[in-house]
Amino acid sequence: MSDIELKDLLYKVADDQLILGHRNSEWTGIGPLLEEDIAFSSMAQDKVGHSLAFYNLLHQLGESEPDIVAFTRNAEQFHNSKFVELPIGEYDFSLIRHFLFDHAELIRFEMLSNSSHEGIAKIAKKLKGEVKYHVIHADSMIKQLGSSTTESIERMQKALNFAMPYALGLFEVSEYEEKLISNRIYAGEVAIKDRWIGDIQEIIMKTSLELPDTKILTPEYGGRKGEHTEHLQPLLEEMSAVFREDPTADW
């Protein structure tokens, strides 16, 4: 198992967490309800913390330090999915994104907890409890907002329809997939996707929402290969604005 396959996996996992963590942090102070504001900020913090854990592992594998890796790369060097870089929009979109992403993330973490790579398994086992809470939160909110007022049902359905093709982009298969699976690093993107559809359907069934038919949607791929929307570069510039003023300085 050479490092290149591992790094590819770790970068996409960490980059997703870093970017989504930043997007979700944009709600701090302007959420629709104080309690929700607090919960969402916590989860954003968790995500950034998760990305740090994985960047640290990458550093052990020879990549640069986390601060450099996170705050000096440009858009085409990032391997996050297009889904996570989209602007926060209104709360319906952000919640749907949280719901769709975190269900996939929990499955991913469960698989990585059983990885043949000790370092990965250790991190995943440790942080899994946090993602478990993220899913609890997402499910509670989706169940409520997806069944409550006509207005909320309409909004959530619209957001779900819009988000689905992007969510499918999470499962873009990498060129190293076969190797990663045969080396038992994890069971692969297709396996995650299959379980994921079942998991989210289970929750959606408890609401008045309908899950779009994933078979007829075109997934928004490209993110894993460094092809991004126009939203990523400005976000990266913002994230690194102060850091880049002097990357050698101690802030």
Partner: protein, 328 residues
């Protein structure tokens, strides 16, 4: 943790004449004994009204204060600062929730308090009507504005109203790292590159005047609040808190080699009091009444958040049960 000078109504002592003198005496005796007043206890209307106002303002300050600092989360340089700042700003929102909850026990629903904030009826700490231009501005707030708030808060934690005191205790416990984090950030700037030092010095020049306003108008031109002191609603005079702040933090600023933009600032070794140029209280009044650099923006953001989030709250409302005043 952004509680600062509260704006009190001039207590209308005439209102007290309508209160039951026996109950009033018992109430005041309890406070004198150092016991806490709890939500179900009898209390004079004025006490309830002033407390609601004070706690509510404190809560508004927390949620508005989250804005000038929150803007730096995405831009925070490096993981360490970013995680800390995310946690800190989240705490501030959490503190708003704790404080609104304490005020709610006095009978005013939270959404009504928020309405008063967005309508402009209720005030919040004036210092947040100023903009954060650089990372160093954010560090100033994290260190010195928090420091000021802690001076205020430690005094209020010894007040008479149980739920407020308990909220403050909880806030203090979470705050422990805010001040250290802020100081740590400033030390990094001070001991860093010339550019970093300059960034902070400029921030300090900008923020010093609003910081001198932070504890409210000087005692000699302040509202008379003897009864509020007696009832342990107001715990210390504005000047006393300002002196405490200066005594604790001016030396710490000077030891980092920064200059404070007030040539008259010095400690009178005989009296032990700090002397300083009298702050411009007209400017303070102007800004707090709406004419500051960021007032419009702060309220506009808050109103937008309320408006765009209304559909969520409507969807969360349980039509089967009615709101009741929370306990304790």
């Amino acid at each position: 943790m952004y509680g600062s000078a509260q704006i009190f109504d001039t207590p209308k002592l005439k209102e007290l004449e309508n209160e039951d003198p026996v109950k009033l005496a018992e109430f005041e005796a309890r406070i004198e004994r150092g016991e806490k007043i709890e939500p179900t206890d009898w209390m004079p209307k004025m006490y309830r009204k002033q407390l609601i106002r004070m706690i509510e303002q404190h809560a508004h300050s927390e949620i508005i204060g989250a804005l000038p600092e929150g803007t730096w989360i995405t831009r925070a340089p490096g993981f360490k600062r970013k995680m800390a700042l995310m946690a800190k700003v989240q705490d501030e929102v959490g503190h708003a929730q704790l404080l609104y909850s304490a005020a709610e026990t006095l009978g005013k629903p939270r959404e009504q308090m928020i309405e008063d904030l967005i309508s402009g009826k209720s005030k919040y700490s004036n210092i947040f009507n100023y903009p954060t231009f650089t990372w160093a501005d954010s560090c100033f707030i994290s260190w010195l504005v928090d420091a000021g708030a802690i001076v205020n808060q430690l005094a209020n934690a010894k007040g008479s109203y149980g739920p407020y005191c308990r909220a403050l205790d909880r806030i203090c416990a979470e705050e422990a790292f805010h001040l250290k984090y802020g100081h740590h950030c400033v030390i990094s700037l001070a001991t860093g590159t010339e550019k970093q030092r300059q960034m902070f010095q400029e921030a300090l020049n900008r923020w010093w005047p609003p910081m001198m306003h932070f504890f409210g108008p000087s005692d000699k031109i302040s509202v008379h609040s003897e009864i509020l002191m007696k009832w342990k609603v107001k715990m210390a005079s504005n000047d006393a808190m300002r002196q405490q702040f200066l005594d604790m933090y001016v030396p710490k600023i000077w030891e980092l080699g920064f200059t404070i933009p007030d040539q008259n600032l010095k400690k009178n070794e005989e009296s032990g009091e700090w002397e300083y140029t009298e702050p411009d209280w007209d400017e303070f009044k102007r800004v707090i009444n709406g004419d500051g650099p960021c007032n419009t923006e702060r309220l506009a953001v808050r109103k937008t958040a309320e408006e765009r989030g209304a559909w969520v709250r409507r969807a969360l409302k349980n039509p089967k049960s009615a709101y009741v005043t929370p306990l304790a």
